[in-house]
Amino acid sequence: MTTTNAKYLGLVAALAVAIIAPFLLTSDYDREILVLICIFAIAGLSLDIIMGHMGQFSFGHAAVFGVGAYTSAILSLRYGVPVWWGILAAIAVTLLAGFILGYVALRRTREFELAIITFALGAIVLSVAQAWHSLTGGMTGLHRVPAPPFDISAGGLELRSEFAFYWLALAVLIITIYAIHRFTNSRIGRAVRSIRENEDLASSIGVSPTYYYVIAFTVATGLGGLAGALYGHHLGFVNAGMLRLNIMVIMLMIVLVGGSGSLGGPVLGSAIYWLVSEQLRALGEEYRFLIFGGILLASIIFLPRGVFPSLASTASWLFEGTADRPSGWSRFVAQRSWLGLFVLKR
């Protein structure tokens, strides 16, 4: 069996398992974890557009996530807007915010500028969310956010909302993965990558760094807003905790531990995060986050490309057995001195 066939088979099998997964699990609680894995995989993929594709860093992604959650929640809870429209509105709002911020902040694609600006803006958004009672519910947030209506009853089989929400999230995740895959191999995706690789060279062959970076950034924030909106409707409440640095670190963990610059990385990272988080449920919040911080640091130090690329290269080594593979040690060294964080793989 060739590698390509093996890959396709593996993908189809994974997809099949993913679709029937809720039936395989026994408790609603476990099914909820599946939903969370999907939602945070989407969030991780959106952050990876900024980190992996653009090679930049935005601290504001937690804020984008939170704004998406809040927008949809406020519209559906306070103004009776149907949930689906609320989600679309959340996407629109975050797209607009991302576009404005990108247009303003990405003129010179210096490394730290975006990071600092988004850090400050994220803090400001958090402040606003905590203080603006009448709109956001202040410190307590908004409760009883409606879930999307799933009235599907196919021949007497009534689908419970946990199942339905999971398939919704899974569908969005699959579409997202496909879209990013196509984006990577498109003219726009190549333009963005060329800017990340060598901005001056990209300019000299006709790529406008500002234009393409703004596009990529806008897409990333819109996607983050979508993930946030789904999160809010799934949980049934939103609060300022969704905007905080904790979420940012979680998303970072998902991207870096899973593997930046690959499609499977954030998905794997999200799965790893939620499964680990469940195991550590018994510990208090601080201990869990302490461990997550440790995992993040350890990942940066020891496994800079993340788990997924390492697995992928192990898999291809198993199936292809390329003759000119460098030795394990030299690979390890190469991985550590050149931090493959911002290298985009297919």
Partner: protein, 255 residues
């Protein structure tokens, strides 16, 4: 009408005048050489022409239109393509990917095309692949197609840089010291390459120190010193020009 024309071009950096009233015109189809000692302003001139630096005064006319003050990517869109003094390629991509990424100006598939892999998109992808093959053959990099650009030798990286510049479909190319550090064999190959490029209808301006290369291929040559033109003419005229000789051999060097 000359394809590139500089009129009274001045570039100041604070109190330092790097380009002093430079007048230059390049005819279509020429290979034009720009020489001068280190620090005479050659690369500054290139940077001003291609939009990486704004001129202080004067004008840059490309195909009759002023391009002064435009951004680099806009100038590239006009098919005026440059290379860099320090060999610049997309280091972390493969050779094939380098050329694919550099073909930006030659492609125009939309996001819809790529999202739904329309026939138009697929046709363009096939054409891109053919183009890659052609450019690799042209620069002699066929068997390096899937190698990472970082793993290429210095000469091969230079070839790749050339392929990348050609991928952007230039009408005119500005080469910044393409022969630096090359062996005699590589120089000869470079000279043939540039002449073939010219034969395809692309105008070339070469900045170089290497006299053998300059004298070998350029129809006209201009010499700069201290940011000002000190001589212009054919290879023989330049070689015997007193001002040029003293600029290179004796007298005070430029800053």
């Amino acid at each position: 009408m000359p394809i590139l024309e500089l009129t009274n071009l001045i570039k100041d950096f604070g109190g330092l005048r790097a380009l002093d009233n430079v007048n230059l015109s390049v005819e279509k189809g020429e290979i034009f050489g720009l020489i001068g000692p280190n620090g005479s302003g050659k690369t500054t001139l290139l940077n001003v022409i291609t939009g990486f630096l704004p001129p202080t005064a004067g004008d840059v006319l490309y195909k009759g239109q002023s391009i002064a003050g435009l951004k680099p990517f806009q100038i590239a869109k006009e098919k005026l393509i440059r290379t860099f003094q320090i060999t610049s390629v997309f280091t972390n991509l493969t050779v094939e990917e380098n050329i694919l990424h550099a073909s930006h100006l030659k492609t125009n598939s939309t996001i819809w095309g790529s999202l739904f892999t329309t026939p138009g998109y697929r046709r363009e992808e096939r054409q891109l692949q053919e183009r890659v093959t052609e450019l690799l053959a042209f620069t002699g990099l066929e068997d390096k197609r899937n190698s990472s650009a970082a793993n290429l030798g210095a000469g091969e990286q230079r070839d790749l840089e050339m392929a990348v510049a050609l991928a952007a479909d230039p009408e005119m190319m500005l080469l910044d010291e393409p022969a630096a550090g090359m062996t005699a064999e590589e120089q000869a190959k470079l000279m043939r390459l540039i002449e073939t490029v010219r034969d395809r209808g692309i105008t070339v301006m070469v900045i170089e120190h290497n006299m053998k290369v300059i004298m070998g291929i350029c129809t006209r040559i201009m010499c700069l010193n201290f940011g000002a033109k000190i001589a212009e003419g054919s290879a023989e005229e330049i070689a015997s020009n007193e001002a040029v000789i003293s600029a290179y051999l004796g007298g005070k060097r430029g800053a």
